[in-house]
Symmetry: C2
Subunit: 86 residues, 2 copies
């Protein structure tokens, strides 16, 4: 499993980063995080594309590879709506 997270101020560049992730078949899991299956070769290609897309602009992009065992050890908390009792 591949996880891409990014922190980029420029709206246009940020959108192009998310488009690139979608082009590689990744799914958005958070506002600035995409996840999906990529082999080593495709992961390297995505890295090069994201690097080119960011160019010389300020930003942070991390691409993580998670083996099956690590992927299984993931803790996920997802709550889509406010459900307050008070």
């Amino acid at each position: 499993m591949t996880l891409v997270i990014y922190d980029i101020e420029n709206d246009r560049v940020r959108n192009r980063i998310s488009e690139a992730c979608k082009d590689y078949g990744l799914l958005r899991v958070q506002k600035s995080a995409f996840r999906g299956q990529l082999n080593t070769n495709r992961r390297e290609m995505l890295y090069q594309r994201l690097q080119q897309t960011l160019g010389q602009r300020a930003g942070s992009i991390h691409i993580y590879a998670l083996c099956e065992r690590d992927a299984r050890a993931t803790f996920v908390i997802e709550q889509t709506e406010e459900e307050r009792d008070d």
Copy 2:
């Protein structure tokens, strides 16, 4: 290595999540991402604390465990300043 990423609208809750990550010795690597060394037990404890901190509010929190091999395969692009030639 442990990686925590989150997507939380409520400013106060988001700050409490980042404080919890710092309390566990993690370092901020992006606006909504922390990283550091945690054993399985501490990772589980952090998960429970983050779950309690979020409570019933809307949000997404993922805690990833990365083995040494996966951590080494990480691609990182970090650029701190705009360096435009044009």
